[in-house]
């Protein structure tokens, strides 16, 4: 009996408090503050209402709701099947897999950078750069024709942008369709195969603990994430339109 009592004092449950009043009063205060802010905000700023919907009058630019503008921005670099369907599905599935792929037992229930650097870098990169930064860009810097405009620039609907993009195989001097298709396939496939092999080689010690399937899924998701950035850099820096052109899809 005495032991049981002692154990209780030492365990994590030692420092427990009643929810009423300690938590409920915090929630109550928090709710009141939020409601005041929301009410004042709603009195001061009106929700937008433009002219009635008109299917014959397409606005330029047409923008999706702001929270999807990151995806809409990726449309510049990828075809809709990827930017609009596959990428969002991968985001959802990838997020769900996080607890099953990250087997690092440290950093459970407290803030730490030192004990899980890679995980934090990957998440911050995905969330802050690929999601938030692209949204900010989509909201403020994308004007008519989805062209880039600096905040001080006039949104000129007739802005002329030279279309000098070529496909990657073309840039390497490949001129026939089939050869280009094989070349592109090799580049994309090679990227994934090589990336996977390098990762497995570098992390070969972890294989026993983490398991093959986990490591395989992890590196595929990571390669896709990095691949999106690679494609953006290829487009912006080297005017590459597609890496791999096939009769069915282009990447």
């Amino acid at each position: 009996m005495a032991q049981a009592v002692k154990k209780k004092v030492e365990g994590p449950s030692a420092d427990k408090v009643h929810v009423w009043p300690y938590l409920v009063r915090l929630e109550f205060m928090c709710a009141i503050i939020c409601m005041i802010v929301l009410t004042v905000w709603s009195i001061v700023i009106d929700a937008p209402l433009e002219e009635a919907a008109n299917p014959t009058k397409t606005p330029n630019p047409s923008k999706a709701p702001w929270y999807f503008l990151g995806l809409q921005d990726i449309l510049v670099y990828f075809d809709p099947w990827f930017a609009g369907v596959v990428a969002p599905s991968l985001i959802i599935v990838g997020l769900m897999l996080i607890p099953y792929l990250d087997v690092n037992p440290k950093g459970n229930g407290y803030y730490t950078y030192a004990e899980r650097k890679v995980a934090i870098w990957v998440y911050c990169f995905g969330f802050l750069v690929l999601w938030i930064a692209l949204i900010i860009m989509g909201v403020f810097l994308r004007g008519p024709g989805w062209n880039l405009f600096m905040p001080w620039e006039y949104w000129d609907p007739h802005k002329v942008v030279a279309l000098t993009n070529v496909d990657l195989p073309y840039a390497f001097g490949i001129r026939t369709y089939n050869a280009a298709m094989i070349f592109g396939g090799l580049v994309v496939g090679g990227y994934f195969v090589l990336g996977t092999m390098v990762y497995f080689f570098m992390e070969r010690k972890a294989l026993k603990n983490v398991g093959f399937l986990r490591m395989f899924l992890k590196i595929q998701l990571l390669l896709i994430m990095v691949g999106i950035v690679v494609k953006i850099v290829l487009r912006l820096g080297f005017n590459i339109k597609y890496v791999w052109v096939t009769p069915w899809f282009n990447i």
């Binding site: 994590p12 420092d15 427990k16 408090v17 009643h18 929810v19 009423w20 009043p21 300690y22 938590l23 409920v24 915090l26 929630e27 928090c30 409601m35 929301l38 905000w41 709603s42 009195i43 700023i45 009106d46 929700a47 209402l49 433009e50 919907a53 299917p55 009058k57 397409t58 606005p59 047409s62 923008k63 999706a64 709701p65 929270y67 999807f68 809409q72 809709p80 099947w81 609009g84 369907v85 596959v86 959802i92 997020l95 769900m96 996080i98 607890p99 990250d102 690092n104 037992p105 440290k106 950093g107 459970n108 229930g109 407290y110 899980r116 934090i120 998440y123 969330f127 069915w248 899809f249």
Partner: protein, 262 residues
Amino acid sequence: MDQIKSGKIFSELAKTVTESQVWTSSFRHGYADTPRNRVLQIASNVWLHLHPVKIQRHALRIKFTWCMGGITFLMFLVTVVTGVVLMFYYRPVGEYAYYDMKYLQYDVPFGMLMRNMHRWAAHSMVITVWLHMFRVFLTGSYKPPREFNWVIGVFLVTFTLLLSFTGYLLPWDQLSMWAVTVGTNMARATPFLGHEGPFAEFVGVSPRYDARSVLLGGSLVGPPALLRFYVLHCIFIPLVAGALMIVHFWRIRKDGGISGPL
């Protein structure tokens, strides 16, 4: 007279009221600050009993949770209440929808305020749910035993975005119609199921019969799409999201409360 002067009448009155059958049947315990009442306050209240009776002290720290899950839920509740008010005035019909919005804004008492609160709460909810998720990631709270609740959470963030997106169409103005056009155009490119997507030719979908037309009830964002989005927005998605939230809260308790350093 004496009783009134000494104020004793008030305690008499209070006693009569709090001992009446109506009162005792409504309020099942006293209010005095005793440990027993603190427990009953939570355990015997249908709303508050989503909480455990006791929690660890660190779970109170706003620095730990940023209060973001709670604020997300509050924003959801605000949209439910204001949304029901808006539903009294709004008809999801091509001819009426836009003019009902005008009516709400200019003629309905507090109509504009209700609309504003609904919209800003919805947008806030999108932001706070992202921040909540970010916090849960940073504290590693998805790690065992909370993996499953993280998965529920990913469903919740998806449904939050879908709620917001389906609502975006309802004002039926240029902004909403074209935003939804841009958004749903993506469904055209669904592999296999969209008529412009990869491998569509092997499935035989057409503009009138593919993933997008199922979503819109037609080949463009027209009145059938408005009705579909309305039903999804007001009935289907809130019910699913609400159910998931209940599971989410339940699991927080079953997983041992808010995560913390062991």
